[in-house]
């Protein structure tokens, strides 16, 4: 039932009222459908079509060839690039999950007043609304050759030479992913935790469960939806990343996004499109796997 049900009225737009509830819903959903159709469906269809095209140094040649895919799948380079991307995703997933869960656990169960929970939660989420590029750049004075970490370690005398692996390395890439994306874990896990009925925890304690047992047997299973949603975010963001790997590895690191960007700058659009199709397939498979575990619409 809603206000937009078909009730003829003196002032209202009569045509609209007569259309019936279903039509009103369609009209209301139309702008969203239009935008997603035009800027999500069509572009993806374009990518799929172009991935079968041929190309020269100057132009795209409409065609139906499998060369882009056979080249992609037969090249050991692309396989290793996909593997390295999966590696980044796995490492970032484990770290963001552990850190995100711990932070959410602290906020949900160890901060006592709602006001403080909201304040500290905001502290965790505010960086989400600032620039990722700037947040990556901000590691330069910290991790660089003459950065704070090296200066500190040398000052204390732990090392004599600056550590070179801190910036422009795989270490830096994963650190940046954790820095950028942990809050995608914190938010949904915190949300799940806040819905847990506190009497369940009391019941567990009354039955003699230790804090650790309560955490593992009660809280973690009930947080599964949050964990899944956070994992989907982190994995898809890392799999499709281009700029973090490019900036933080100093151009040495390889990921599918970087490979696609290189091909695009060489105007090899069909090759990039084939990469994109394979990447999309991999990402969707991973997401479907994770979604088996949870009904997201119920979690909102």
């Amino acid at each position: 039932m809603s206000a937009t049900d078909a009730i003829p009225s003196a002032k209202g737009p009569k045509g609209l009222a007569r259309l019936g509830a279903e039509a009103v819903s369609w009209l209301q959903a139309a702008p969203l459908t239009l935008v997603l159709g035009l800027f999500l469906i069509f572009p993806i269809v374009t990518i799929v079509i172009v991935s079968f095209w041929d190309y020269s140094e100057y132009a795209l040649i409409p065609d139906v060839i499998l060369d882009n895919y056979t080249y992609l799948l037969s090249s050991p380079v692309t396989w290793s690039i996909f593997l390295s991307t999966l590696g980044y995703a796995a490492a970032s997933w484990v770290l963001t999950l552990l850190i995100g869960f711990t932070v959410a656990y602290f906020l949900a169960f160890h901060v006592r007043t709602l006001t403080w929970q909201i304040v500290l939660f905001m502290v965790c989420t505010i960086p989400f609304w600032t620039s990722n590029v700037i947040r990556m750049i901000s590691w330069i004075p910290v991790l660089g050759r003459n950065g704070l970490v090296n200066q500190g370690l040398m000052g204390v005398g732990i090392i004599d030479h600056p550590l070179e692996f801190l910036l422009f390395s795989d270490f830096a890439v994963i650190l940046a992913f954790v820095h950028l994306y942990t809050l995608f874990m914190v938010v949904p896990i915190f949300n799940s935790m806040m819905r847990i009925d506190r009497s369940l925890l009391e019941a567990a304690a009354d039955q003699g469960a230790s804090a650790w047992q309560t955490l593992w047997s009660v809280i973690v299973p009930l947080c599964r939806p949050g964990i899944v949603i956070g994992s989907i975010f982190v994995v898809t963001l890392v799999m499709g990343d281009f700029i973090t790997v490019r900036l933080m590895s100093g151009g040495q690191g390889a990921s599918v996004g970087v490979m696609m960007n290189n091909e695009i700058s060489l105007l090899q659009y069909p090759a990039a499109a084939a990469d994109a199709v394979v990447l999309l397939a991999v990402v969707l498979l991973m997401v479907f796997g994770m979604l088996k575990a949870v009904d997201i619409r119920r979690e909102l």
């Binding site: 009209l27 997603l36 502290v123 620039s131 898809t236």
Partner: protein
Amino acid sequence: MQSETRSKAFPFLAAFFALFVLFLYGPMIAIFILSFQGPEGGLTFPMRGVSLHWFANLFEPQMVGDFGGSLQRSLLLAFVVMVLTVVISVSAGLAFRRRFKGSTTLFYLTVTSLIVPSILVSLGIGLMFRVLGWQPNWWSSALGAHLTWTLPFGLLIMFAVFNRFSPSYEEAARDLGATPWQTIRHVILPIIAPSLIGVAMFGFTLSYDEFARTLMTSGVSNTLPLEIYGMTTNVTTPVLYALGTVTTVFSFTVIGVCLAAVTLTRRRRLRQGSDAGKGVF
């Protein structure tokens, strides 16, 4: 967890949380301080004097590509994305309160929009414009690309809002003879206003900072994040940090204003009861 004494884990968890916050904000604070480097200063500590040299440098056009122009474009684009995100999300949110043919498909399409890698959206829209012979532009292709990122957030917020929204307000309005449009304008919108500020903030800040989706869709003129990315490869002075400080302060201001607005609306509501129907929206 309302026990009288803190658990033994508390100090460890609190310390962990403090370290996490330091991890989040520490680097940002470092570039904030370093952007006030003296004219002789470099990209790392120590500070060689304190000055506004690099901020002044930022506004000299020959030093940095096109800071002013790209900032203007980014602000305008973010504003348009914000308005469209709010309008489209509310409209779709209203639609989704009822099942309609295709609602499940549209819902999953929206979720897909959230999880399809940005670079794919960027490449797809760029390619589509190329194949159709259209000129990509920040106000057309990039606008669409940004909406595919902001709309899912907007719609999910609307879901959260309408899941907790009692239909009795609307029924009352209708019983009192309100037209559907009057019900939306004077009952629903005032009630969901604080959440709309949230949607607007998502729309503005996500667009203002978006990089990957703009990369292949902005055409010939850069937006600010693209300009900053360009600078990282060829600028080796603290002017980079000055730019970082300026845009971050700007983002914080937007966030601060939005949060203050949300808090104020909530407070006013607590004091006066709902202002629904008073037409003050």
